[in-house]
């Protein structure tokens, strides 16, 4: 009875409630969409196939497709266990570790790149030692991977940590009591239950890695990746010159995103 009484009164309120977020949200959404649409509208003017057929461009695509997955894999393999420990344990110095994890997010990429050079550059002990055995850490694909990992790894760590944190610890305790050690419990329970969050983190990390410019430019301006190539093309030929490569970069990221989302549906996923 109160439902029918309350409806006429509450309806105008409901609309007003939604009005403010709709207006504010609409503004920011329009601001996201506008540059996108404006940029895409330039595609007609550019000759995409011609733009993508130069050897420089193809090298850049190849380099990006080699380095970004490697950086993502390194970030995931090293980062996910760390994320689990951060979600589950408290230990002395945990705050410091948490600070270190977000440090690459706070530091501007170009500064991050400068920091990497000061640590592993050609004239540092590590850098010169590596160069001496034939694996230079700067101006090489390895340098690109180092820069990408530095900038992109926090995404998978932070997202996976949130995913592990959302699992009720008792599910893991039950597994231990049912006879499984910590590693088996991680594999059987924690990992499958957090896999949605981990995959989301992997996608974010990959997108960040393949689009990485600032740190990469400092650490390995050569060999060119897609973002550094885009910069070079832009300096030489303006907006229209970069449209083909920019669209390819966007396309790759979207394909990876779609593929991962698709993949995540395959096992019995819990929509939560």
């Amino acid at each position: 009875m109160s439902g029918t009484d309350a409806l006429p009164i509450s309806r105008p309120n409901r609309t007003a409630e939604l009005l403010v977020p709709a207006l504010l949200g609409g503004l920011i959404l329009a601001y996201f969409a506008l540059p996108f649409v404006a940029f895409l509208s330039r595609t007609g003017a550019a000759n995409i196939t011609a733009g993508l057929s130069t050897p420089e461009t193809q090298h850049a695509i190849r380099n990006s497709l080699i380095t970004a997955p490697i950086a993502t894999a390194i970030s995931t393999v090293l980062g996910v266990p760390l994320a689990y420990v951060l979600a589950r344990r408290s230990f002395p110095g945990k705050r410091l570790v948490e600070g270190l994890v977000v440090l690459p997010l706070i530091v501007p990429p170009v500064v991050g790149g400068a920091m990497i050079i000061t640590a592993v550059g050609r004239f540092t002990p590590i850098g010169s030692a590596a160069a001496a055995v034939g694996v230079p850490l700067t101006d090489s694909l390895l340098g690109v991977v180092l820069a990408q990992t530095f900038v992109a790894a926090p995404f998978v760590i932070i997202t996976a940590r949130a995913g592990f944190g959302a699992i009720d610890e008792r599910l893991e305790q039950a597994s231990r009591s049912l006879g499984y050690g910590p590693l088996a419990t991680f594999r059987n329970v924690s990992l499958p239950l957090a896999h949605g969050a981990i995959l989301a983190g992997i996608v974010l990390t990959f997108a960040r890695a393949i689009g990485e410019f600032g740190a990469t430019m400092m650490v390995a301006y050569n060999p060119r990746t897609m973002p550094t190539r885009i910069w070079v093309d832009f300096i030489a030929g303006g907006i229209d010159a970069i449209v083909p490569l920019a669209l390819t970069l966007l396309g790759i990221t979207l394909v990876v995103l779609a593929a991962v989302q698709r993949l995540a549906r395959v096992p019995t996923v819990i929509d939560r």
Partner: protein, 360 residues
């Protein structure tokens, strides 16, 4: 003893959660661990399961000290308050989970899984996912999963809380039946005294991290060793009285005197004692003249109609608040009434001390 706790204490930082707790469980026994929220019950469960290392004391399983043994090597199964079924596994995969860990081959595992799903009457749901089951069914699967590896000890940590009353009672009966059929040594942890009384062979009542009393449920209820047990195990009224005579012990409530024969409690005249009496033992009938009961007068403050009875709260002339359970016709508010307190239903406590004497 299948399970034994020896002087177990645990601190979280500066806070003492459990203090010097010792009790045990005989093979096949169902021990109820009863206490209010925050009394340290869950810490004990965690310690027995091996998820918490107690700061002091020992935990023994079948005579072996397991205080430092990791949970996976203890053979202790836990059913938690909130469901912990694995949402990415089917019902039978959940039940079989603990069997695979023990290296059981597939055929045996399937047979055992079927047996235990049969035990909780859920064979039909074996291919469902936990989210497709009702709350009660989830609890039963959880029981099956905990029991399938045939643990030495089953820990039930508030398995009935959060269920509606009908389901709660049904599941309680189910737990009693399953425990009887499997004969598994069980520690049933609850804050609900009715659940504890209904299920347990033996009760351990905890308060503030310590054991406040233990024993057979009915004996604990009838002759509580401490005021806490008296008030937590069922309802209890506290009347403060003054000792007016030692032999026989006679206590005065205002100007009414009650002679408590057969007590061995030694109190000097003029001392104040606490007398506990259950609301169900009080009545508005006039006191018997033979001195076996006494009339206490007071004014009716509140009357609550609970359907099957009335709870009448009155304030006595000495300032104590007393609840009387009255099945039929309650007095009216502000009415001055006298309540008959039967001497053989009174337990005398010495202030805050735990020694007591049952008069009978």
């Amino acid at each position: 003893m299948t399970l034994e706790l020896e002087g177990v204490s645990h601190r979280y930082g500066d806070e003492l959660a459990v203090s010097d707790v010792s009790f045990g469980a005989e093979p096949g026994e169902l021990v109820g661990l009863l206490g209010p929220s925050g009394c340290g019950k869950t810490t004990l469960v965690q310690a027995i399961a091996g998820h918490v290392r107690p700061t002091a004391g020992r935990i023994l399983l079948r005579g072996d000290d397991v205080t430092d043994t990791p949970p996976e090597r203890r053979h202790v199964s836990v059913v938690f308050q909130r469901p912990t079924l694995y949402p990415h596994m089917t019902v039978s995969e959940n039940v079989a989970y603990g069997l695979a860990a023990r290296g059981m081959d597939r055929e045996e595992r399937d047979a055992r899984t079927r047996d235990y799903l049969d035990l909780v009457d859920l064979e039909e749901q074996c291919d469902s996912y936990p989210t497709e089951l009702s709350g009660g069914q989830q609890r039963r699967v959880e029981l099956a999963r905990a029991l399938a590896p045939q643990p030495d000890v089953l820990l039930l940590d508030e398995p009935l809380s959060g269920l509606d009353p009908t389901l709660r009672e049904r599941l309680r009966d189910e737990i009693a039946r399953i425990q009887r059929e499997t004969g598994v040594t069980t520690l049933f942890v609850t804050h609900d005294q009715e659940d504890a009384m209904a299920l347990a062979d033996r009760l351990v009542v905890m308060n503030d991290g310590r054991v406040a009393g233990s024993g057979h449920p009915r004996r604990l209820y009838d002759s509580p060793p401490t005021p806490f047990v008296a008030s937590f195990l069922g309802r209890s009224n506290t009347l403060s009285g003054t000792v007016v005579n030692q032999d026989p012990l006679t206590v005065a409530f205002g100007d009414a005197e009650l002679s408590l024969d057969g007590t061995n409690l030694r109190r000097s005249e003029g001392e104040t004692v606490l007398c506990h009496v259950r609301p169900k033992d009080l009545s508005f009938a006039p006191a018997e003249t033979n001195g076996a009961s006494v009339s206490v007068t007071g004014e009716v403050k509140r009357i609550v109609d609970l359907g099957r009875r009335y709870d009448v709260t009155l304030e006595t002339r000495t300032g104590d608040e007393v609840v009387v359970e009255e099945p039929a016709r309650p007095p009216s508010r502000d009415e001055s009434v006298s309540v008959s307190v039967p001497g053989d239903c009174v337990t005398v406590f010495d202030g805050e001390q735990s020694d007591s004497s049952r008069l009978s």
